[in-house]
């Protein structure tokens, strides 16, 4: 379980998070929504220690990580993977080498085992045959799928998704969402996703939390969240989904 307690963070002198209290249930898919500029990605990066809070605590399965450094922080990070908004593939490596990268660097597997694992993950995300391509040669959807394969290849316990479908056409966004859900169901990892894709995220999420004014405005199971009586949340949902 991941828990944030009273997390405050200012960037460039501007307060972004003003006392976030949040618990991420283990093994569930939790989606974080909110207006642009609220600090959702900033909050997400706190979970893996990429950003440290000015005040407050970040607990991962009973260990407070916000002040950890070096080897101890790396031990925590080895339980995580992250799919960045732009996938963050390494430009100088092919798709194969990108997906194989964590296996070679962290697990030191023999090369035949690496090839097997990478081929398996690329097939799961529908990128078989693309191993030799470089990131610059991929479409947006392919890039995200390669990033997802790299995130999955180490079979992590926790995966963070930073706007995985932003910038994609509706069909590709649906493909990526379905892929995330299928992998989540098959592998059972804890997933935390930042997304603007309302109402699509309600169908795939177990829990939904809304970041508002620098704190968690509401958090509920997905079905209950949609039925909320909070006028601010209803307005946000209605604006994102005029048909709803």
């Amino acid at each position: 379980m991941i828990t944030l307690v009273g997390v405050e963070k200012a960037l460039g002198g501007e307060p972004i998070l003003r006392g976030v209290n949040l618990t991420i249930p283990t093994g569930k898919l939790t989606t974080l929504i909110g207006r642009s500029g609220e600090g959702k990605s900033v909050l997400l990066k706190h979970l893996i220690g990429l950003i440290r809070p000015d005040r407050g605590e970040v607990w991962v399965d009973g260990l407070e990580i916000s002040r950890l450094q070096g080897r101890r922080l790396n031990q925590v990070r080895e339980r995580f993977a992250m799919l960045f908004q732009g996938a963050a593939l390494f430009d100088s490596l092919t798709v194969f080498d990108n997906v194989a990268f964590p296996l070679r660097e962290k697990r030191h597997l023999p090369e035949p085992a690496v090839r097997r694992r990478v081929a398996e993950k690329l097939e799961q995300v529908g990128l078989s045959g693309m191993e030799h391509k470089y990131p610059a040669e991929l479409s947006g959807g392919m890039t995200k799928r390669a990033g997802l394969a790299r995130a999955l290849v180490m079979e992590p316990e926790i995966i963070l998704f930073d706007e995985p479908t932003t910038g994609l056409d509706p069909l590709m966004a649906k493909t990526i969402r379905e892929l995330i859900v299928a992998m989540h169901r098959a592998l059972g990892f804890t997933a935390v996703m930042v997304s603007h894709e309302i109402p699509a995220i309600f169908a795939i999420s177990d829990w939904v939390a809304m970041l508002r004014g620098g704190t968690i405005g509401a958090m509920a199971p997905s079905a209950d969240f949609q039925r909320t009586a909070d006028p601010g949340i209803r307005e946000f949902i209605a604006a994102a989904d005029p048909a709803g």
Partner: protein
């Protein structure tokens, strides 16, 4: 108005000191990773090729024309004072002690240093550096340390090439074109240049290699996440590297002489 000027000067001084502190901490943190496994010889070889191998052509070109202009200038000047026999040693010492290390390092700064800043800056902007951290891999160890080591190893090799080509360029112009005595050229070179001159030049080269990689890697690593920030970082990296090379050259020369 005076108060405002003093306040502005004070703020700029504080910003400069903070930046120098961050740069020093960056260098020290990178240094702690140099001796810790895993060592990545393939990464190191790749960087030696990028910094050293791919800079060879521009270094050879610069060396050739530097040597040639030295031969031209010095042959005329030394003839006026009746010392044209010393052409070889003056060309050799000028290149080996000063011009070789400084010019080679400046060429590496312009070619490889700016590219390092741009590459690392782009990796920061596209979150590739964050991706390394999420995989529990130190960006300082994986990205920066190989570049620093490659630069410290590669620049002296380039300086050696610079010296050889420059001396040949001086011979071409001073002797072949302007009628100097070839025996005097090589004889005075052999008599005038000592091994301490060569080691001193290579020591400078290694120091300049450290400066180039340190400054250019820092500027790329610390770049603000925007296209404008990246452009500014690249410019600052080249200018600061060049200035520090010239400053370091003075202090190293005063110690080595």
């Amino acid at each position: 108005m005076v108060t405002a000027m003093v306040a502005r000067f004070g703020r700029l001084t504080l910003v400069l000191i903070q930046e120098m502190g961050r740069m020093l901490l960056f260098l020290l943190a990178t240094g702690t990773w140099l001796l810790r496994p895993p060592f990545r010889p393939v990464q190191l070889a790749r960087q030696v090729h990028f910094i050293g191998g791919k800079s060879t052509f521009v270094v050879v070109l610069t060396a050739a024309f530097t040597g040639m202009v030295l031969g031209l200038q010095l042959q005329y000047t030394l003839q006026k004072v009746g010392s044209e026999a010393a052409l070889g040693s003056v060309v050799g010492l000028s290149l080996i002690r000063e011009l070789g290390p400084v010019f080679a390092a400046l060429m590496v700064t312009a070619r490889a240093g700016s590219a390092m800043t741009a590459e690392l800056g782009l990796m920061q902007i596209t979150e590739q550096v964050d991706a390394l951290e999420t995989m529990a891999i130190s960006p300082l160890q994986y990205l920066i340390a190989p570049r620093v080591v490659a630069s410290v190893l590669g620049v002296p090799l380039l300086v050696a090439i610079f010296d050889v080509v420059g001396i040949a360029g001086g011979y071409l112009v001073g002797v072949q074109l302007l009628g100097g005595n070839p025996g005097s050229y090589w004889g005075s070179l052999h008599a005038g240049v000592e091994w301490k001159d060569v080691w001193g030049g290579l020591l400078k080269a290694g120091s300049f290699g450290l400066i180039v990689s340190w400054v250019c890697c820092y500027k790329g690593y610390a770049t603000r996440r925007s296209a404008e920030g990246l452009g500014q970082a690249t410019t600052e990296a080249v200018v600061l590297s060049a200035v520090l090379i010239l400053v370091a050259d003075y202090f190293l020369t005063s110690v080595l002489l």
